[in-house]
Structures are given as C-alpha cells and as structure tokens.
C-alpha cells in the first residue's frame, strides 16, 4: 500500500527526459531577428522599394504555405517562422527593381516545389530560398540583373542602374573597379557599409556580421561552415584572383562583395541542407568556397555563391556518410 501511494512520483517514460527551451519556432524567429540589421540597411540604401520587395516575398511565402496546407487538410506550420524566413531570405536575395510577380513566383517555387512537395520543413534537399532565386535568375535573366545604384536618400523613383562590384570586376578588371570607387580604402569602406549595387540584403557586410554574431553567440550556428567557406574563398582569391600571376590577388574584395557573407552565415548553415557532423561541415564549407571561386573567376556568371551552396546541398548526405566516425571499440569491417 505504501508503495502504491508513492507510485505517482515515479513516472516511466521514453526519452528525451530533459527538454531544452529551444524549439524550431524559437530558432527560426531568432534567425529572422538577426537579419533585421541587413534589412534596415537595405531600406536605408535602396529606399521603400526594398521594403516593398521583401515584404511581398514574405507575404507570398507565408500565404502560399498556409493555403497549401489548409487546402490539403494539414496542420498549418506558418507559426514556426520557417516560411517567414524563406520569404525574407528570398527577398534579401533579389534586386530592388523587380516587378511584382517575381517575388510571388519565387516564393511559390521555394515553398511548394522545394519544401512542401518533398515533405515539409526538415525534408527538403535544397535550400528553398536559393532554389527560388535560382529559378528566377534562370527564368528572368534580364530582370534579375538590373541593379539599382544605392542612393541613401529615401527616394528611389528615378534611381539609376549600375553594375555590381563583381560584375565590374568580371567585365573590366580591377582597374575599372578602382575608377568607380576611388582608392582601395574607399572601396573596402563602401563594401563594408553596403554603399554598392547588389541584391537587397547582401550589400551591407557590417549589418550581416552583427546578425551572424547573434546567431553564433546563441549557438544556433557554429563557426565550421562559415569559417571554412570564407577561408577557402580568401585563399583562392589570393592565389588565383590576381592579374599578374599567382598569389597576387586581393582576397578582401572577393570576401566582402557579392552574396558571400549572407550565403556563408545564413544560407549555407541551414540545418536541413548541410551536413550534421562537424568534420563534414568543414568539407561542405570548403566545397562551397571552391565552387564559388571557380564560378567567379572562370564561369559565365559574376557571382557563384548561390550555385555553390545548391551544388553542395546535393552532396550533404554523402559527406555525412563519408566522415562518420567509427564506433568506439568497433573493428573496421574487412573487405572481402
């Protein structure tokens, strides 16, 4: 009888027994928050148009997910912020001057084709926002490469268009880039602050690094992928990017321009589509860096971060399998 009275204190259950506070929603909304500085800088430089494009992306991504899941009698998952994040990332990856249907088509492809048809969050092979952007870039090559000149005056109605730093570098080489931006210090300053043409969210390196610092501090991302990605790009740019032979290139230009910072910290580190073993993450980052620089230096496109991450997404499961550590005490299987 005495044991029975105390029985309710012993609860037998299956693991996990200790639950943390972290949920998918909490992580996703924190990532959204960490992109806020980049969003503010994009609105500062590109005017209300930036807010309009990004907002349209977020709205259509969330609505698409909600309508799809409601119409199939499934539980809607818009509350966990992942659709919001996909829309936000897609918006920050678009130029400011796109017509209204481009964000809508991109969000549809990202949410329905890339994520929900594969089974929803956690089952997608590729990063949804990047597939959305790749689809748009291939479908509308003209519209997706009209870059507005940053004005910082909050009037963008008669904005001038210009080429991105990487575009200038590809077409005219380093000399022309110097002509546009003045001397090297000015160039680095513009790239750091974000006073250059490009996709909405990728321009301001400082704002992105503030957000990345928050994620690193909270432990939501680790240094492995971004560091190996950036280091590979830096080394490749230094070794092969110069005009006058090996090891004369300028790694800082390549590190600060294009979508590299945004891609390395916010998109390559997507939990679902990167390897989950630390060693594998370093391999993943190195692969991303190699492909990025291959496209930037030798390929047809001026920028290659998007295609690099997508290509490495394919290899993520393979990498995980390759670097899996041996169980302690287990004997390596003999080949017959």
């Amino acid at each position: 009888m005495a044991t029975e009275a105390k029985a309710h204190e012993l609860i037998v259950s299956v693991s996990p027994h200790v639950r943390g506070k972290e949920t998918v929603g909490r992580i996703m909304w924190t990532v959204n928050l960490s992109l806020l500085p980049a969003f503010i800088m994009s609105v500062y430089y590109f005017g209300p148009l930036a807010a309009y494009v990004t907002g349209l992306c977020i709205l259509s991504a969330v609505l698409t997910e909600h309508i799809y899941q409601v119409s199939l009698n499934k539980k809607t998952t818009i509350g966990d912020g992942s659709a919001f994040l996909t829309g936000l990332l897609l918006g920050l990856n678009l130029p400011a001057s796109v017509p209204f249907y481009i964000p809508i088509v991109g969000s549809f492809i990202a949410i329905v084709i890339t994520k929900l048809l594969f089974g929803g969050l956690g089952y997608n092979i590729f990063n949804p926002a990047l597939i959305g952007r790749a689809f748009l870039l291939i479908s509308f090559p003209r519209l997706m490469t009209i870059w507005l000149k940053p004005t910082a005056q909050f009037v963008s109605l008669d904005a001038k268009t210009t080429a991105t730093p990487l575009g200038i570098l590809k077409e005219g080489g380093l000399d022309q880039l110097m002509q546009v931006f003045g001397d090297k210090a000015d160039l680095y300053m513009s790239l750091l602050v974000g006073n250059r043409a490009g996709s909405l969210g990728e321009t301001s390196v400082i704002a992105l690094l503030i957000g990345a610092a928050l994620l690193l501090y909270r432990g939501y991302i680790t240094w492995h992928i971004p560091f190996s990605f950036l280091a590979t790009v830096g080394v490749m740019a230094w070794a092969l990017g110069g005009d006058s032979g090996f090891f004369t290139g300028d790694p800082l230009i390549h590190l600060l321009s294009g979508g590299l910072i945004l891609g390395a910290f916010f998109m390559a580190t997507d939990y679902v589509t990167c390897p989950s073993i630390r060693k594998g993450q370093i391999v993943f980052g190195i692969g991303c860096g190699l492909i990025t620089m291959l496209i930037r230096l030798k390929g047809g496109f001026p920028e290659g971060v998007m295609f690099a991450i997508l290509l490495m997404n394919c290899f993520a499961p393979l990498i995980d399998r390759g670097v899996k550590s041996k169980m302690f005490g287990a004997i390596k299987e003999q080949k017959k």
Binding site: L117, F135, I138, S139, P141
Partner: protein, 208 residues
C-alpha cells in the same frame, strides 16, 4: 503462348492510361525532356513513335511463329530499325524544318525501351489484331504525354502554342530549358498519380 483476354478497346485504353509509357511506366523519358520544348516537335515525335510502335507490333506478331527464341532480340532490333529508317527518310524529305530540329531523336527511336518492351512482352505472344491495338494504344499514350508536356512547356516557356504567340510579357524561360523539362514531367507524373489514386483507387506508379 498466352492469349490476351482483354477486348481491343481495353487494350487501347491500357496503352493510353493504365500503362502510359511516360507517366506510368516512366520509360523513354529522354525524348520527353529533350524534344518537348515546343508543341510542333512534340507532336512530330509522338506521331513517329506511334507509327513505329504499331508497325513493329504488327510485324513481330505476324512473324512470331518463325522467330527462334534464341535470336529474337536481334530480329526485333532489325524490324524496329527498318521502320525507323522509313520514318526517318520520310521526315527528311517531307518535313525538313522539323527534321532539322528533332532528326537525332527520330533516329534514336531505335533504342526506345517502350517499343522494344511491347514487342517482347506483347506482340511476340499475341495474334495480329490485339497486337495492332496494343501498339496503337501505346503510341497514342506516348503522343498524348508528349502533347501535354510540350503544351505546358511551350506555353509557359515561350508564351506560344505551335509557334503562334499567345501571351506577351516575360515568359518563364526555365521551362524550355532541360531543367524545366524535368519539372514539367515530374509535376505531371504526380498529377496523373493523384488522379489514379483519387478517382480509380489505384496505388500510383510507384506503388506497383
């Protein structure tokens, strides 16, 4: 030598829907992606395949008693190659512009899995009339698949149908590129699976 119990109409329907070459069996996918960036090309290849499929089935069925089982594969090959040569020469003479675009894929009909499979599975075991309807059904099924795929790809990718401009504005360029072909085939295959499961109680193509 099993005698087919199905009626001719059922054989036709089987080829068009039940065992549709592309959407249900998922064979001969190479031309369905390579050629379907325009309705004109898709229809031309579909009709060629329909012709070859029907004629091969009839011929093999007529010769089935004389083919030694050990050398049946080379003989099927010869018969198929003969009909493909006929259609190839006909197209080269009378349909020059289309032939310039899809000539390679006309010649590659020789290697189509669907034609070979029907010769082996059906025509070499059945009488001439059922074989005719089976070949016709398979050919029509292939033609239908090509029409559906190329309809969506040309409409979305160029805003045109049969080369006539219908929609102005910016089309989805990706749809006439190979990547768009995979997208279109995949989505349509999923749609036909959904129809099969929802309305006919089937298991879908992968549930076999």
């Amino acid at each position: 030598m099993s005698i087919q119990k199905k009626s001719n109409w059922e054989l036709l329907k089987n080829g068009m829907f039940g065992e549709n070459t592309i959407f249900r069996m998922a064979i001969s996918l190479c031309p369905s992606i390579a050629v379907t960036n325009g309705l004109k090309n898709g229809v031309a290849l579909g009709i060629s395949v329909m012709f070859v499929q029907t004629m091969v089935n009839i011929t093999i069925s007529a010769m089935r008693k004389f083919i030694h089982p050990k050398i049946r594969i080379p003989i099927f090959m010869l018969v198929i190659a003969g009909y493909v040569t006929i259609i190839d020469m006909l197209m080269a003479t009378y349909a020059r512009t289309i032939y310039r675009e899809i000539g390679l894929y006309i010649q590659i009909i020789v290697a189509f899995a669907s034609i070979f499979a029907r010769a082996e599975v059906f025509a070499s075991k059945n009488k001439i009339v059922p074989s005719l309807f089976d070949g016709l059904g398979m050919g029509i099924g292939f033609l239908l698949a090509m029409i559906v795929i190329s309809f969506f790809r040309e409409l979305l990718g160029k805003g045109e149908l049969f080369g006539y401009s219908l929609i102005s504005g910016n089309p989805l360029l990706i749809m006439i590129l190979p990547a768009g072909g995979f997208l279109a085939v995949g989505l349509l295959m999923g749609f036909f699976n959904w129809v099969d499961m929802k309305f006919y109680g089937g298991k879908g193509a992968s549930g076999v």
